[in-house]
Symmetry: none
Subunit: 415 residues, 2 copies
Amino acid sequence: MAVCEILCVGTELLLGDILNTNARFLSKELALMGISVLRQTTVGDNMQRLCAAFNEAASRSDIVIACGGLGPTADDITKEALAQVLGLRLQKHEPTARAIEQYFQRRGVPMPRTNLKQALVPEGADVFENRNGSAPGIGVKDAGKTYVLLPGPPRELEPMFRDRVSAYLASYSDCVIISHAVKTFGIGESLMAEKVADLLELENPTVAPYAKDAEAYLRVTARAASRQEAERLCAPVIHEIRRRLGSKVYGVDTENLQRRVVELLQTKGLKVAFAESCTGGYAAKRITDIPGSSAVFECGIVAYANAVKSRLLGVKPGTLKRFGAVSTQTAVEMAQGVLRISEADIGVGITGIAGPQSDTGGKPAGLCCIALAAKGAAARVETIETGRANDREYNRFAASSKAMDMIRLYLEAAE
Amino acid sequence: MAVCEILCVGTELLLGDILNTNARFLSKELALMGISVLRQTTVGDNMQRLCAAFNEAASRSDIVIACGGLGPTADDITKEALAQVLGLRLQKHEPTARAIEQYFQRRGVPMPRTNLKQALVPEGADVFENRNGSAPGIGVKDAGKTYVLLPGPPRELEPMFRDRVSAYLASYSDCVIISHAVKTFGIGESLMAEKVADLLELENPTVAPYAKDAEAYLRVTARAASRQEAERLCAPVIHEIRRRLGSKVYGVDTENLQRRVVELLQTKGLKVAFAESCTGGYAAKRITDIPGSSAVFECGIVAYANAVKSRLLGVKPGTLKRFGAVSTQTAVEMAQGVLRISEADIGVGITGIAGPQSDTGGKPAGLCCIALAAKGAAARVETIETGRANDREYNRFAASSKAMDMIRLYLEAAE
């Protein structure tokens, strides 16, 4: 099994200014390729220490992947360090120089001369185009070892690894690992794990429970000589999990709830509209995260103040007065209101207390009422309480997730 | 200045199963104590590699802090590795053995016998009680070096470090480090760095450029015997940066643009409303991320389809037809429309192409027009192009940032 070390470069990592997500991303991707990561090392932007780290890593492993330090400024020296360690000259890579010039032209800003430093690559290197920034990635094969240099920003590094570097390293991969995530909503991690306790003991595929972003999911991972064989191992286990968890499962490998909702709406040719109070546009933002959502998303109204709820959505002042802004009654009138003023088929109303301050009426932060109104159907409404009064982001996320899940269950029931 | 290395132990880190938050936490705490972290290393639960990592780290630094691998199971071997490296015997620490027994008694579950392994410590070690779990922390001073072993779970490690270990390492702390972030918007990292190129050469305080989330910032870090003295070193440099970058600077240590916008609106007693197309609620979501934003945020309209732009916001069909939905003219009518239907003082219209698909009219993804309308003032409008056609999240984030920045500049100009 091929052995790899990951070398992260950046004083900001050693100062604790940023979290090292690159080490995790690369480790995970390499594990899926069957390449073993034996060590992760982080050093600062210091030539002597960086060269020492390259030499040590190469003495122990087949592959060294370094990330960070490919920027245009003088303290970006990862490329220079590798060139020094391997005794290679840096030379201008013309396609990269042109790409960098065009990148600045498109943005309509003059290119600082220092940016051309990013077009220098070690002689004989393979160059990986950067579609999301200006620093290209670099691959060097030298004395039986492979070195890969990647830009530090995750939004540049991650697509570059997936699109180019994984293929570049394919010859080191000696088995196939396949992994699927069975995603659920509306069931806690421990209850989910209890329902599949016996499956968690399996060895191939393995089944492991995780919780993330107000959801729980099970990761099913198989290892085999071929992709086909690994899939054949996963299939019956995924089927059994679906059988036990029922409608709590919203998808397998589905990116997130809003993706599932957009797919269901597309299939049925329906449109949704949101009336949001505490989530402040979060539900609309999440739906419109999905490319192509314009076909299924009609409009959103963010109505924070009571006056706006009445004026734009037609919520009755009497309802607000009698039951309060955070009530199932108000949620239903918001959902019905946005349905009335739009041409959507489904209207969703969300009203709650995001925190950290709680309501004057004694309702706790984390409480939220969510209603769904649809043409020709009775309105439905649910209330959640997260129990995390101080976590405004979590409360807003969980409330918008619950709204997505109500749309999903409504559409799935109609199937 | 004392030099430290952090050694994280755990195969789950090398597999990418978990994010290494301990390395960041410890680095940050140590930086504040004036202890320099030169390297972070992660290795798996393997005796030979762990011993090698201890030896290497000790050869380069005064302090080695290892975390993880203190649990009760057979693959927890960090303590055993350190004892082997230093030639120390492990012996039972009675107060810890009693504490572990009591810990299980309190939880009302029988103690597995393997847990007594956690009461073994190297002879002569200092022991740090664990108030949030069963594995104690360990300190060993040997041949002029200090070794600290901490449990892996962050909720055990973090309080233990703050309550006990920081005092244990106090003799190494000979200074205070103060750091400030000068945050900018509307200037790229390299152009910003060019304008302060001479300041980047300073030694105390140091000035370093960073880019994150469509913004660039400068970190000014001073080291001195006292906090006061360190602040005195930073002040003139921050003043000089502000002078050179002018209105590009939106704050020092300000959390983000929306925080600055909410503060400005609060100070002036004004309210804002958004009419969003491509950002789909992202601007409203970001403003309402800030607790207390209800006092300054009037409402948001997410109008994706042209029909909705006309019906809810009063955008003229002729404008949409002649100039297109993504045009400065439409952006201005959206801003004016939301101002008209709300009781806000400032209306902002955002219309663009989020990507990854580009417009049928040949306009590129990443193009966005943003308009600001205010009572009694001429509307202003700007167009940005990110040059990142494929990055929907970035394009939407950058467009909503630009909207925040236009509000900020409008309010600052009125000061």
